[in-house]
Symmetry: D2
Subunit: 390 residues, 4 copies
């Protein structure tokens, strides 16, 4: 059997390792992480120990030197065990890539080495209360102060807010004419100016510590800048967005695969006592499972195609990146919805061995995380009809 | 504005009372009831005190003497405040109607008087572990024992299991040739033979104490029978099913209405800080709200039509009863799904004033409760093509 | 069995007459009308002879004096036999109501008497090439000329263009500040200035002679005005829109009912030679039929509810009028799509007795006729969030 | 830009040639072919002349020696110009592959050489009136007669019935215990025993001459057998089904691409005269176009993945073949439906430059052609739950 993302042979052991950790570590804690909710500390520690936090860090800095294909395959495997852990991993890796792309960050290589060593967790802090889901348009501002800057912000939905060492954050550049003239900087959580608020309590992805963060009078030195001043949009759209998009698409696929597997297992093993037939003998249930499988594999294949476009440096690559995330998000909704309908009461309960209820909730988190499906549709539609994206 | 169920003028005050209790009592406890989860004791007590537990009990026995139209309107109002409470009310009223229809139950009138006085809570105990969602086909059996019977059963999903005074339960009649030859009897929870198991923990409707119940060596006297021996299917299909179906349809409509109201309110009041526009200025969000409203009102109207068919004694009435439940269940899924998509992060969180996340979960309970949408489709399809239902 | 539109007892004979004509006259010509395509002259003549062209004309002027309930029931019956004929009837009746509402039209009563006598066919000519589907915003203009006006227009999609005696047409009032300041006038097709262009050739509703019409230097006298100058929007939105909306909703329901009936018949009577089982034994096909029935009846019930709101003069009546059309249009798409999927090749062919292929095409005409589903969603969404409609 | 089917570099010129013919020849005749309807003789002649009828014939026999990837890419290009022609090509190539796989057919190589030379058109004749869409279960039978066999059959839906030189046909083997014990034979249309009936007149794919064929007392010699006696299911399931499935999937993708292109073009170029804005400025229309693009590319990518599985000889290859067809068929329905909704009246008419109306109808043919989506769902569902397919 081929793999839809067609990663290089040498990446196989990282993907296999991720699959093993997902089954042995992540899955064991997933229910409690969801229910409490709490941060999956054991699972993130296992990723760190396996070197997977440095999966995309260049080998020269101690990392595993992998690109988007292996990254996606790892994120997908992790999501099969615990989607909250996968989300933390995707946010961390997207932030890592922003850091790696920086020409201004003073301790860039030191951070990347620490990441590769499993000693540094990073994340993104882009969205804000005032701009809601339009993460590319911060309302917070960097004001000049001495050689550097100072800033205040009400960041919303920061994953790993209480556990990350650094946030890759955005603000309007000094004197910005529009929110699109932004700067990306690195906020270090050791600062008292960075204050995570009480954590998120919502429908799904409950364990990734997605919390609001209040930033008050934070000093940002010139060597803390990730992008050049006013060039934040480039970092967001050319670095963060592609990694985030393919990572979250892969996460969604992990949820889909877990739902397909659990549903197939449930239909195959459940029988009616009074008639001797089983759930798999019902054509309507088989059809739902079939639709789940087909939808899952089509979306995975689209992500595989997206890597081809990215590697070819095709001008259509951004369109495919957006499309892959769009399809994956909706597929995860559709597939877990079908799973709930195929498995009925057994899927609805938290007390059975079938984790569909959690998959169903976790899948819905993707829809509300920017760029949302509505944003993606709008960007794709603009690109196809010759309109500017912003 | 007309009411889609077109209940009699004199029922208005009961519906208004239900609306008032839903807003003032049920809604106040709903979040905690869902979260803990726990039985909504205050809310059920408020219904009892208002006389609503006896809504359909004949006036001659102290009840309010109402029929299906007012029952549905009340269930709908209750669901706007707390769907778990509405579910308890619907199960109780369906059981009450089964009791009222009995010609064999020794203390029928005494129980109905107690119900009317708010001193007796009843419920249904039809589904079983062995027959899964096919509630009309019990695998448990009544065995003859002296003048009466004795029975064992593993009942699943009994609403109000730890709080009801009686269960309207089913078993195969002695010597039944098929599970369809059943008998309905009244199980009194004061008996040690009736043992509710630890309660349900699932995706939605978390407060209605839907628990498995183990019945072990329960003595069932002839005067405990609700149906005549072997005539259980008549009671289930001609009494319980219609009341349960229209009640749960109305519950689903209450969830829809709450979602429409919350979404309209959210779109109308939420603004983007950086652009000065608001959510209601986005055509895709307006379209979702429109679709929610239209879907809700179409389904409510179908239930109204169903009452016309029932009152006319039309031979199509059963088809409309099944159709009304079918449409309401799917409408509740569709409408709350659109609400989640229209309101995004604000709906996804449990920490905002917008209760859409709970409505979304509660709505999904209907799908897994028999007769499920799959059952309903099958019954309706058989009826329309001249096939027997069983 | 009750009727979802609950028309008055005395209207029953008109509805029955329409049903009879649909089965005996309209259905006989429908395939040829669709295929050629050609205007259903025999069917319209039968309506005229039966007095149905005057269904809503006041009895004092020789009409049958019926309101929206009977009108909808008649339109629905006609659509079961031939949707093109039903469309002609709906356009004619909507135009008739505009005429009846006029305080300025010189020969209003004479025209209404001719209509009642079956000697006058009218229609609407609102949409224009320049404003596309936004029929409420004509780009043509009335220019003052002597005591009256003169106008040029490129009207698009005029039903019965070559057969109607009059068109109820729109243009911007002289000096209008916006296209919304319009005037409604009566164009008489006997004038050389009114020139229907070669007819429509499209996917569905092929027989209603929906043609572009070129109006060149048409003199419009003051006594030809249907609305007062600049008050056209009132006539369009308060008279034409409600009648058109409920009429087209009912047409859509007629298509749905025909599809349900044909599908039930096909499943019930078709068998596999090699296995001895029949199509109705396939659960997936039964489920589709069930969904078709439920969807049809929910939409019909919503239209019934809409009449209640209209009669009560409820401020929600316009919202329900838009909602009823919206739900009916989408139901007709969904129901005929399911019919095609349930009946397969037999429905796909034009050579079988199952007319589903034509129903499927005719149903799609509703979507492209203004106000389209997109318009309706937008209007409904604006109304629900407190925004002005225009 | 990469190609989703990833055919070999040397196949590029065949795909380019197909694209060129589609644009220059097929598209020119497509409207007339659909409308009349008539067989696209000019287009098929152009394919023959270009050598494309021998695309998959081994080079040693004069063919182009291509495999499934190039075949699919060619079929997709052809469908962009004329789906009827693409269907003829797919049926011909599937039949060609059955012939090429034969160890019993006397003049196998001569036929393949004639095919490569563009002088022989073949097709499939599997489905029958008695077995409806279950093409794998013929009710016709081969009876032994002398050294060979004789057979009668009522074949339905034979593409190119009046134009093909040979049909690859099925019948039950002599003494078959079930319809699954079939034999594949070659029927030569020069025989008087093979009588095509008057052609198909249906919703879509109107030009491929899909006609019933009456076979009466046809002598089938031993050297006319394509499969060994009783081994027909192997040929159907291991040779015909994969080629047919990927070919029809690719055809569906060609329709999708044509719809995406036409819709993008229409939105980009159409403006409202009265407001100065254009269709592409409407977010709901942009979103539909985006969904069309994403759906199309996901389905194409799944077909690309399927080729990987086929080439790897994976045991999952058959599952992916079924899945690719399933997804493509439904994508074509969804994408052309969205096109109709995005383009409105312009798409609905046959008189505009936008051919969406025809694409919409052609796409629906896939649903009714076996194996239908319902069959595919059932097969996939059985495979995933460990049930035998038949």
């Amino acid at each position: 059997m081929s793999h839809p993302y067609r990663f290089a042979e040498q990446a196989s052991r990282f993907v296999s390792h991720a699959e093993q950790l997902a089954g042995e570590v992540l899955a064991r804690h997933a229910a409690a992480v969801d229910r409490t909710p709490r941060f999956p500390e054991e699972s993130v520690a296992a990723l760190a120990q396996a070197g997977l936090l440095g999966l995309t860090v260049p080998a020269a800095l101690g990392g595993l030197g992998q690109g988007p294909r292996a990254f996606a395959a790892v994120a997908e495997e992790l999501a099969r065990g615990c989607a909250s852990t996968a989300m933390i991993f995707v946010m961390h890796t997207s932030a890592t890539q922003a850091i790696a792309s920086s020409k201004t960050l003073g301790d860039r290589d030191a951070i990347l080495k620490a990441i590769a060593a499993g000693k540094h967790l990073s994340t993104l802090a882009l969205s804000e209360k005032g701009s809601r889901s339009q993460f590319w348009a911060p309302v917070s501002k960097l004001a000049e102060a001495g050689d550097g800057f100072v800033t205040n912000a009400a960041k919303s939905w920061v994953t790993s807010a209480n556990f990350a060492d650094t946030y890759v954050a955005s603000a309007q550049a000094p004197g910005a004419a529009s929110p699109l003239e932004s700067t990306i900087y690195l906020a270090r959580t050791e600062s008292d100016a960075v204050r995570p608020q009480p954590g998120f309590d919502g429908l799904g992805l409950r364990g990734n510590d997605s919390s609001p963060v209040s930033i008050e009078a934070l000093a940002v030195a010139a060597r803390d800048l990730v992008s050049e001043p006013g060039k934040g949009a480039d970092t967001m759209l050319q670095v963060v967005l592609p990694w985030f998009a393919v990572g979250t698409a892969a996460m969604a696929h992990g949820l889909c695969r877990a739902a397909v597997d659990a549903t197939a297992q449930h239909l195959q093993t459940t029988r009616f006592e009074h008639s001797g037939t089983g759930l798999r003998d019902l054509p309507t249930l088989r059809a739902r499972l079939a639709q789940m499988f087909v939808r899952t594999e089509a979306s995975r294949a689209l992500l595989g195609r997206t890597f081809d476009e990215m590697e070819a440096g095709s001008e259509l690559a951004p369109l495919f990146v957006l499309s892959a995330r769009r399809d994956a998000l909706e597929s995860a909704l559709a597939v877990t919805d079908l799973a709930l309908k195929a498995c009925g009461g057994a899927a609805f309960s938290r007390q059975t061995a079938v984790p569909i209820e959690r998959l169903f909730r976790d899948a819905r988190a993707g829809w509300v995380m920017a760029p949302t499906v509505d944003h993606l549709d709008d960007f794709i539609g603009k690109a196809l009809t010759g309109l500017p994206l912003f």
